[in-house]
Structures are given as C-alpha cells and as structure tokens.
C-alpha cells in the first residue's frame, strides 16, 4: 500500500482524488453508495449568492468519448448551502472544497466572507463556467477581469483560495499567473471546453442552451497539456482535472504537475469511479515501486 496522502496549501488530504464540482451535488446521493470519508475531498456543487434554476433541458448530450452539459449552475443559493448542506458535508470526514461563483467581484467577495466564517477547509472560486451569461467565464476569459475578481475575493477570506480556470482561452498560463499575483493559493483546471452538437434531422442544437461544456476522456490530453503548462508557469499548487477515468490517468495528470486530481464525468456512469481511481492509483504506485503519490507530482521528463 503506497502512501496516497497529499498536502495542498497546508490542508492534508488522505488521498489526491476529489469528485469535481457539478457531478457530485452536495454529496448526499453518493453517501448511499459508500462512505464519503473514503474520498480525498469533495468539491461541492458550484453555489451562487442567490438560488438559480439553471438552463432549460435538454442539458446533456453524449459526444465521442465525452459529453456536453449546459446545467447553468443550478443551485439553491449560498445561504441554503451554508445552513442545509455544508454542516452535513463537514461531518463526512473528508476535505470540503466550497465551489462558488457569482455575477460580480462584490457578490463573490460576500460569498467568500460568509464561507470564511465556517469550518470549510478550502474555497474554490469558479471563474470558468461556460454555461451562464453573467459571471463564470465572463471573468475567467481574460487576465485583467480574472485578477480583479481574485483581488476582491482574496480580501474577504484567509482560507486557502483555489481559482478554477477555463481552457477556453488563448493562453491559460497568463490567467494562472494573473490570479497567482492577486493571492490565489492554488489553481484548478480544466473546466469544460465550449462545444455544440446538432440533431441532424431537426437541425436544432441538442442542448436547449445551444452550446455547452465538453468533458470526459475526449478532453484528457488537453487537461494534461494545460496542467503541465500552468504547473511550469506558477509556484502555487495545481489541482488537475479533465477526463480522468482511471488511476493511471490520475498518475499521468500528477506527473504533468497536478498535486491532486478531480474526477467528473466518469462518475456520471459509475458512482464508484472515484474509489476505482483511488485503487488504481495505489496499484500503479505499487507496481512501479513508488512509495508515495506526491512523489509523482511534476515528474514528467519533457523532451
């Protein structure tokens, strides 16, 4: 049994595998399948200041080796999260990442200030949702708006602040450096890639929102590339995600520079995917006589 523990921004994780925000709700559904304490952490559903109903259905379409989704940050709002969901999540004996987004730096700072008063271990600021008109990618697509957002949120909390980045940009390292300069403690990437599919009989987009975010194994090589680029561009830890399906995928993303790995789309078809990935990572480490998962981080030997 290899040592799977990692430490990110001073927060100890029993293993580096974290269900990504958006696929795991607030955890309750999957607690019916296994104890959530088996997980390294949980990135909770992205929460906005006020309740949001999200986009109209259909919100999902299958694509080659992936899916498109356009949920549009449906959530019950920050106060409902703080009172009805977070206290339960904090009892699950795993690290909780409170993922949050909002329509302005001011409202995001207010959410951060509220989260700062709780026992949540980490904050994950989402500036990369491709499916909402206000907020989300509107801030994450450019270095100056991303920096302004992080600047405001940074003042509102002393907790470790992760900023979740979008791949829908020309140079992801520019955004990563900008948020690092404003005090982000870590970055997580990649959010989904903007995509579109059309029903060829009706000539209507399959998603009612027309466009949506692409995820799943199709995007894994992009995630590896962007994690590698960002890990080489910043000094803060990188949390990698994008199409991870197996323990070996997780190991590869860690070699690219990820200190921990989030798992999203794989969970949609297999509730047990995070457990299988934890097992698979352990197996990979044992098979290759590597003592600890953290020994993988950033060990790619580029040509």
């Amino acid at each position: 049994m290899a040592d799977l523990s990692v430490n990110i921004c001073g927060v100890p994780f029993k293993n580096p595998i974290i269900p990504a925000s958006g696929v795991f709700g607030y955890g309750r559904e999957y607690a019916n399948y296994y104890p959530l304490s088996l997980l390294g952490g949980i990135s909770a559903k992205g929460t906005t200041p006020k309740k949001q109903n999200g986009n109209p259905a259909p919100r999902i379409a299958e694509t080659p080796a992936g899916i498109l989704n356009s949920v549009g940050l449906q959530n019950p709002g920050m106060d409902a999260f703080l009172h009805e969901e977070l206290p339960w999540l904090l009892q699950q004996n795993t690290v909780i990442l409170a993922n949050f987004a909002g329509p302005s730096p001011e409202t995001c700072a207010e959410s951060a200030a509220k989260l700062d008063q709780t026992d949540v271990q980490m904050l994950e600021l989402n500036i990369s949702c491709p499916n909402v008109k206000n907020g989300g990618l509107a801030f994450g697509a450019q270095a100056d708006t991303a920096a302004n957002m992080v600047k405001a949120v940074r003042k509102a909390t002393t907790k470790p602040l992760i900023v979740k980045l979008s791949p829908n940009v020309t140079d992801v390292t520019e955004i990563a450096r900008a948020v690092e300069a404003e005090g982000a403690d870590a970055v997580s990437l990649i959010n989904t890639l903007l995509g579109m599919r059309i029903d060829r009989r009706t000539r209507r987009p399959i998603l009612r929102n027309n466009t949506g975010g692409l995820s799943g194994p199709a995007v894994f090589p992009i995630a590896v590339r962007m994690v590698w680029q960002v890990a080489n561009a910043v000094k803060i830890p990188v949390i990698g995600m994008g199409g991870v399906q197996t323990g070996e995928d997780a190991a590869e993303l860690m070699m690219a520079g990820a200190s921990a790995v989030q798992v999203g789309t794989a969970i949609l078809s297999d509730p047990y995917a995070p457990l299988k990935i934890i097992d698979g990572l352990n197996q990979f480490l044992d098979d290759n006589h590597i003592a600890a998962a953290r020994d993988l981080v950033g060990t790619v030997q580029p040509w």
Binding site: A57, P58, R59
Partner: protein, 264 residues
C-alpha cells in the same frame, strides 16, 4: 476497510431477451437485490458496452420478487439502445438501480385508468399487475406494427382499450377519446400515464377538469440518474406557486400532474 471493499458489481445476467416488435426489445434480468427494492414507476440505468459515456434510463416493466427478476422493454432509438439490443440471454448487462421516485399507490381495489403512449406503455404494466381488474388500460401507438404488451395487460385482468394513429389496430385516434368515455362511465380515483408530452398534458388537463388525481411519468436526457448532476431538469410548481427546476431522475420520473409546468 479499503475503498475496493465498497465497490459493488453492477453486472447482472440476462435471463431472456425477446424482440416484441421490430426495434422493440423485452429484456428480463436476474437481479434479486434490485427486484426486491424496486417499486412501480422506478427505472434502471443501463450502460451500453463500447464507446459510450452515459447510461440509458429505462423504465421498469415488470417486477418479479419471487423469481428475483426485473423486466424492461425498450425501443432502439440510437447507438446506445442499438447496442443494448444486441445483448442476449446469458450475457450480462451493466445496470444501476432501482432509481427514482415511483407511483404513489392507493389500495389495489381502487378504480384506476392507466394510459400508455408508445414506448411509454411498459411502465404501466407493473401498475396493471397491482390493480388487476380494477384497472382500465388505454394504450396508444402509431400503428399495428408498434403495438406491444396488450396480452400482458389482459393477463393482469385489466380491461384493455387499444388506439392507433392510423386505425390499423383498435380504435383510430387519440387515447383521450376513450379516456373521456371511461371517465363518464365510471369516474376513476386515479389516472396514471406515461408517453409523449402532448398526450400527457392533454390527460393532465382532463384529469384536472374532472377533479381526478393524476400521476405522470416523465422522460428527459439524463446523466448520473441519482440526482447529483442536475442535467435532467423539469419545471414544477412549488406549494407557493414558484417554478422550480426539479429533476426527473430523483424527484421523478413520476410527478403529480398538477405540479408539472407543461409549457416549461
């Protein structure tokens, strides 16, 4: 306990596989744990083999707790259901379930009308078997080539009424015509329905007008199936009249028809 000890197999043996009509398949699956837990109106989430990312939600058509089996009936709609249709008795199928919120059932001797449209007919069969002779089952299909499950409804002891769009079997026309006649003849205490949205909204309107409780089973493109990913949204009215995006997989697939926002 290591994580692997919590991982449950979702592979279940297929007991029988029959093509009821071209492109419509009946699969009986040996799954005592799921059969034991399943109730009318729930669904199972089947994973096609090969290059697929999502499971396919299929409503439960029969629950046999004594035999430890479930039956599902599904139509081939795309590549995923086409792959599932290649499975045969003796193969295994990757199945998650039972999932969802099913029908809320009154006593079995309550007079009810059950209405199925097309591939929405299968989830009416467990109800028919529960209510037996106190149920009238109205089924609607495109044409005679699409008609399924009429013998099963009759075997359950129900009165059956068949409609087709072109009149090639049973009555020509919509299910709402015999529904109005049946309501006049004997007002039921409950209407349950599954099928296309225009059919369901018409039934819901008739039920509301007559003051008859009505439960409908809805369909939507689905992700996780357990209520976490929030993709299968369906607008419903809350108690205060506010519109809320509920989810077909967890809050449904069965909803009180009066709650459903039919144009939303």
């Amino acid at each position: 306990m290591p994580a692997s000890d919590y991982i449950r197999s979702m592979q279940y043996p297929i007991h029988t596989m029959t093509e009821l009509k071209p492109g419509v398949w009946s699969m009986v699956i040996a799954c005592p744990d799921i059969a034991n837990a399943a109730v009318c109106g729930q669904f199972v989430h089947l994973m096609p083999q090969g290059n697929f990312t999502l499971r396919r939600p299929i409503s439960i058509c029969e629950i046999d707790r004594n035999a430890g089996t479930l039956r599902v009936v599904f139509g081939v709609r795309g590549k995923g259901t086409a792959q599932l249709a290649t499975l045969r008795a003796g193969d295994t199928v990757d199945m998650l379930g039972p999932l969802g919120h099913g029908f809320t059932l009154p006593d079995a001797d309550t007079p009810v009308i059950l209405i199925g449209g097309g591939i929405g007919t299968p989830p009416m069969l467990p109800l028919a078997q529960y209510f037996g002779k106190s149920a009238v089952v109205i089924s609607g299909f495109r044409n005679a080539d699409a008609v399924i499950l009429q013998e099963d409804f009759a075997a359950a002891g129900c009165k059956t009424i068949l409609c087709t769009d072109d009149g090639s079997a049973g009555n020509k026309g919509l299910v709402t015509v015999p529904l109005a006649e049946e309501i006049t003849a004997r007002k039921p205490a409950l209407i349950c329905a599954c099928g296309p949205i225009p059919m369901l909204s018409a039934i819901a309107a008739m039920a509301k007008e007559q003051g008859i409780p009505c439960q409908v089973s809805l369909e939507e493109r689905m992700g996780c199936g357990v209520g976490a990913c929030l993709v299968c949204a369906c607008n419903i009215y809350l108690n205060d009249g506010e519109i809320h995006a509920a989810h077909v997989c967890k809050d449904g697939p069965v909803f009180d028809a009066e709650r459903v926002v039919w144009n939303g």
